[in-house]
Every structure is written in structure tokens, then in C-alpha cells.
Subunit: 239 residues, 2 copies
């Protein structure tokens, strides 16, 4: 990978979206969650990975999975909505930590874009619960959760775009366009992440497909302002 020193033109490190961390959804300290509260949140993540969706989790189900008395729930949360939001916070913390790590990593070694894609998907694979809950609730029935998640994704997209801009990874594309493509990319990757987790045999092809997606977006953006006539002309020169 020494071939690509400063390969602008297409995104590398395209997604700060939901990056990685060595040991994910287990022992966390910064979140100031302990004891029963922590047990309940972790129980939720466990249940979500198996079958359920966050919004559909029941109070007693949670307590059962956590090995606690149902009423303990009320010691920590007012109701299930508040619980959902806290789970989201818990996950967001994880994501941010991953972003920081990815940033450091990319700063030290100039990665090729496909390595970064691999990296991000690896994160999803290591954090299936966080991934699943994000995908499910982004279009789920609870407006509160949807809104919270969208804010989180947009923040990630903004970081990704600013990083691309700062490090001049893409040339010839307007800043606003880079922001837009970042938003689209992050959402696209998030959705593909579900397939990536669930279908081990397709993982490689999903990665490649994602790289093509990103490259096409940024390369296509180069031609944004071309008239159809000019474009046709260009095609003939390419063939």
C-alpha cells in the first residue's frame, strides 16, 4: 500500500460514521453507568442482537435478562422512552470513541480507501448490537429515537466531511457537495452493515461494492456541472 501516498481524487477515510474500538460493548467506565443500570442496558443490547428491536423491548423482559427484579427498572429510569434514549447515549459514546481512534490511525499511516472501508465494517462486526439498534430505530416507530439518531449520524457525517476537506483528500469538488456525499455515504454504509453482519459469505463483496459506491459518488461529483453535450463528448474520448 506504499503506492498511494496522497491519493486524492477519491475518498479514503470516508466515514467517521460508526468506527471501531477493540473491546466494544462490554466493560465501559466513562459512561458513569454501574450496577443494575448497566446490567439493564447491556441486557437490552443482548436482546436486540438476537431478535428484538429497541422500541419493542419490555420492562420485565429486560429485568429478566439482566437477572433483576422488574421494579429495579424504576430506580434508574422513569419509563421505557427514557431508557431508550439512555441506550442510545450509551452507544453514541462508543461511536465517538471509535471515531477518535480511526482519526489517529488514519493520521499515522496513509491508508488506502479500501482499508478504511474494511476498518469501518470491522467495527460494525464487533458492535453488532449498536449497529442493529441504529439501523432499526433510524426508521422505527419512535419519533424521539429517530431524531436522536439522525442528529448523531449527521454529526458523524459532518466530521467525515470536515476531515476530507482539511486533509484535501478530494480535489475539484465543492465543500457543500462533500458534506452531502458524506451524509449519503454514512447512511448507505449503515444499512449495508446489517447485511455485512448477517451474511458472512457476502462480506468481501459488500466491502468492494461500498468502495465502488464511494468512488462513484466523488468521481461523479467532478462532473456535476457538465452539460449533457459536454458529457457525451467526454464519453467518446474515454472509449
Amino acid at each position: 500500500m506504499a503506492e498511494s501516498k496522497r491519493t486524492w481524487m477519491y475518498s479514503q477515510r470516508f466515514s467517521e460514521a460508526l468506527p471501531t474500538r477493540p473491546f466494544p460493548e462490554a466493560e465501559r467506565s466513562m459512561n458513569l453507568m454501574t450496577g443494575g443500570k448497566l446490567k439493564l442496558v447491556q441486557a437490552a443490547l443482548r436482546l436486540i442482537t438476537e431478535t428484538r428491536s429497541l422500541t419493542s423491548l419490555g420492562l420485565r423482559e429486560l429485568a429478566r435478562e439482566a437477572g433483576l427484579n422488574p421494579n429495579t427498572f424504576y430506580r434508574h429510569f422513569k419509563n421505557l422512552d427514557e431508557f431508550g434514549l439512555q441506550v442510545l447515549d450509551y452507544i453514541a459514546e462508543d461511536m465517538k470513541a471509535g471515531v477518535r481512534q480511526l482519526r489517529q490511525m488514519a493520521a499515522s499511516s496513509e491508508q488506502a480507501s479500501h482499508e478504511t472501508v474494511a476498518f469501518v465494517y470491522h467495527y460494525f462486526l464487533a458492535n453488532p448490537a449498536a449497529t442493529t439498534v441504529a439501523v432499526r430505530e433510524l426508521h422505527g416507530p419512535s419519533a424521539v429515537l429517530r431524531q436522536a439518531l439522525e442528529a448523531q449520524l449527521d454529526a458523524s457525517a459532518r466530521e467525515m466531511a470536515e476531515d476530507i476537506l482539511e486533509r484535501r483528500l478530494v480535489a475539484g469538488v465543492a465543500a457543500e457537495t462533500i458534506h452531502e456525499i458524506s451524509r449519503m455515504t454514512i447512511r448507505y454504509i449503515l444499512f449495508r452493515a446489517m447485511d455485512y453482519i448477517e451474511k458472512p459469505h457476502q462480506r468481501e463483496s459488500i466491502q468492494q461494492e461500498t468502495e465502488r459506491f464511494i468512488n462513484r459518488q466523488f468521481r461523479g461529483a467532478l462532473l456535476d456541472d457538465l452539460s449533457p453535450a459536454r458529457l457525451e463528448q467526454l464519453v467518446t474520448t474515454l472509449v
Copy 2:
């Protein structure tokens, strides 16, 4: 729109995905559903549009909304899973009808791509229940429903791609690439459709964004095989 006779280069009629029909989720005849069965399915669609997700609907809830005795449910469906599948079939029927109509329409008048995008989003707006259930269950907890929906989407993508190929709407892009872009596009549009429905003020910008997405995909595909060096060279000529 007389300016664009045969505007290849970018997709118009990009999405057969989930097109329209004048009066959507109401009086249907082809589906051979009548009486109580129909009432239950329609009740489901009603509930889904409001708050719920298909997987989380209860048998009694359904019957209540439909104005029927809970046990009537068992006269028509073995269990809730089978019910879910039938609802999906019901919706799929709708989509296919829309596809046919869109095909006719596009054949008669050479549309610009942005008109087609508007058309498709209009369909979503007219069929909020079908749209919502598709988005929610595509990543939902039920594997059966997920699989059924994916098949449905892939079929739509295939139709879209074949149509683009037959009518030579895009030049200089490999057939397989067109298929791939079609799949990506259909999924992208489906997700955006939720925002389109829920956020009236953003509708116009969502449409435009979608057009840009599609154009960039196809235009970027033109440059798929270019080396970074060649690409850099190209950028300088464009500036």
C-alpha cells in the same frame, strides 16, 4: 421538456422501484381478498401509518381496529407471521401495478430524470403505509419478512436496470454496473421516502438530492476504470 430527446448519460426513469397508482391502498380487486380478511389487512396498514411497525402488531389490536372479533383472525391466517407475509403480498401487488403504469407513462413521453423522481416520490406519498412497512421491515426483526422484501426490491431493481439497458438511457457503462447502481438507487430512494413523507418542507430538496445522487452514480461509473493519475489529469482539464 422537449429539449431532452434521448438524453442518455444519466438515468431517467431510474427507478421502477415502488411507483404510483391513482388510488392506492383502498379498493383493490385483483388480490382476491374480501370481507374480513381484507378488513384485517387494511387495519394493519392503517395502524402502521400511525405509529406501529408490522412485526409489533397484535392479533386483538388488529381485530379491534378492523371491527371484528379476535377469533375471526384465525379463520384467515394461521398466525401473525403468515399474516405479515400476506400484507407484504398485498403491498407488492400494489407496487407492481405502479411499475406497469410508470413504464407506460415513460414510454409515451420522454421524461426528464427529475420528473421521474418526482413521480416516484409522489407514489410514496400516496402510499404511506406500504412505504412505511417496507422501510421498517427491511431491517426489522423478522427474518422471513426481511427476505421477502429483499426479493421484492431486487426484482424491482432488475426491472429498472433492464429498462435502462433496453432503452439505452445510459451510455458507456457496463450492464452489470447498471444493475448494481439500480440496486443501490432503489434502496436509497426507499429510505429517503420516509423523510419525504414525514417532512413536507424538505420534499423539494430531497427530490433534488436524489437526482444528484443518481447522476453522480452513473457519471461516476463512467470513470470507474480510470487510474488516479488519469483522473487527476482529467480534473485539471475540467477546471
